[in-house]
Symmetry: C2
Subunit: 348 residues, 2 copies
Amino acid sequence: MRAITVIPGTSGSARLDEVPEPPAEDGEVLVQTIAVGVCGTDIEILSGAYGWPPPGRDRLILGHESLGRVLEAPDGCGLSRGDLAAGIVRRPDPEPCDNCAAGEWDMCRNGRYTERGIKQRDGFASERFRIRAEHAVRVDARLGLPGVLMEPASVVAKAWEHVERIGARARWTPRRVLVTGAGPIGLLAALLATQRQFEVHVLDRATEGPKPQLVRDLGARYHAGTVAEAGNRPDIVIECTGVASLVLDVLERGAPGSIVCLAGVSSGGHALPIDLGALNRDMVLENQVVFGSVNANRRHYQQAATALAAANPAWLARLITRRVPLDRWTDALTRRPDDVKPVIEFAT
Amino acid sequence: MRAITVIPGTSGSARLDEVPEPPAEDGEVLVQTIAVGVCGTDIEILSGAYGWPPPGRDRLILGHESLGRVLEAPDGCGLSRGDLAAGIVRRPDPEPCDNCAAGEWDMCRNGRYTERGIKQRDGFASERFRIRAEHAVRVDARLGLPGVLMEPASVVAKAWEHVERIGARARWTPRRVLVTGAGPIGLLAALLATQRQFEVHVLDRATEGPKPQLVRDLGARYHAGTVAEAGNRPDIVIECTGVASLVLDVLERGAPGSIVCLAGVSSGGHALPIDLGALNRDMVLENQVVFGSVNANRRHYQQAATALAAANPAWLARLITRRVPLDRWTDALTRRPDDVKPVIEFAT
């Protein structure tokens, strides 16, 4: 079968490969790939800056944002032939930490997890893949192609779950949400915010392209200026850019009791002059919280499935700004200014 | 009666004053003051840098860390004549925010609370004070003078409650605790950590005086070096110094899933070069939390009462490093190198 493979650590090594059928040890559920989404992590792997091949091999099958149709599944496993399904990315080590052993591999304590398409385990960018039923999540059949958004939506669902659980440490009635960055994560974070009936503001640099209207069509407000202009003193911030100066801005502008979720991975390497004493004082006197959130476990994929099923299908479909057939796969891996989520289609 | 009063905003204005008996509108419970504790906030008020007088007056009665004996209390209010009691510091505005209205004035959203001895409401540094029963907390009679630690212990109890509630957002089995600063707040934070059976490390600059032995007598480890030397990758940090460089150090060294509670109020005004991108990346990839915590509500005072009652009375008594009689009150307000908690005694 065909698969997109890459030598992690080697820039420009990606190619459309012929590989063996997925091995039985990958799991009892066989899935025909419909599409894989492309995200910043894929671009980072292609550049040679990230990723690890499976043990004993040079090449890794790419792809961690999946949508497929079940070809084979054992009776009673929760999936049936013909179902739409998405694969969970992270898997615990055979000798798991306590959190991984309990299914909370998103909170892994020892870093010995694997990740499909990223870390030591083949991804989903092949015509077929196998997966254990416990690592596959059923996707509402009515969703169609936007079901490929399950993985980014799971990351956002985890972020929101943690915001709400942290918020429950005391009495809290948040009203105003600021999302920084209107990429797929930011737009999905805004979707989940509007589903919670908050007043939602989204800040991004784009003044053209699909992002402003996508935000407005959620009933949220779009801002292309500064954090200060994007809504006064938000109760909740979902920071999706990882841009250090923006992170600092949102840390300085939260409401009393505000919760800032850091969901954007930044590169680091540049020091800013920061009055950490003043920041500390404000955080203490106003009971503010900042937390980082990464990855998602099965519970969050299920929350994502519910959130996507409740969304406007036409709006979700517009997040997929490009559908690139497998034989033109390289097009999908080159960023364009108007991209929200490009996907590579394996089958229709 | 005698009271220590100060003109907030005016350095050097504190004096031992003759003032009227406490007014009935302060509350139905009349308390004879046994002692008030002195903390950094008092020193800040005495320096003119903090504090607000009651409306229409120049002078504020100082003192927010209280211990007294009930002289008068209505039947069925939970307090009886002869009980030891401490006063809660913060009170909601007559037009409270939602949180204040629900009794969570420590999470006030609009800043319109008042604070006894600090903000627009007379404190407890008078021979007698009045208070509403709902703002007074009974202290175990066996505690004696260390009951004056109720207020700082309530601040620490809130910090611990929030650590635990935030930690419950996901599966979490913390083991190692780092407390930075071995003042009263740090030592009480370490006490509550040992009551939770954690491996506890306390970091302070002191190499002499009572602090190292106070820490060791809790069964905790004392460190006078750097954060790196004070225990590798703590799961929980209670930061009690507010020193910006130390805050940065603890932010950079937490374990995966770690929770840092900022409990020290810093002055600000100095910028440090900080690689916020790298800090953000680590917080995201390791699901780390940083939060500020201030003040305490009635629930936390009750938790504090329980924690103090469960502590070794001899250890608690050693936190009170100086007992200064009222007629030598100025002595208590001058810091000494070996001070942990100086108190001013009003009655015995």
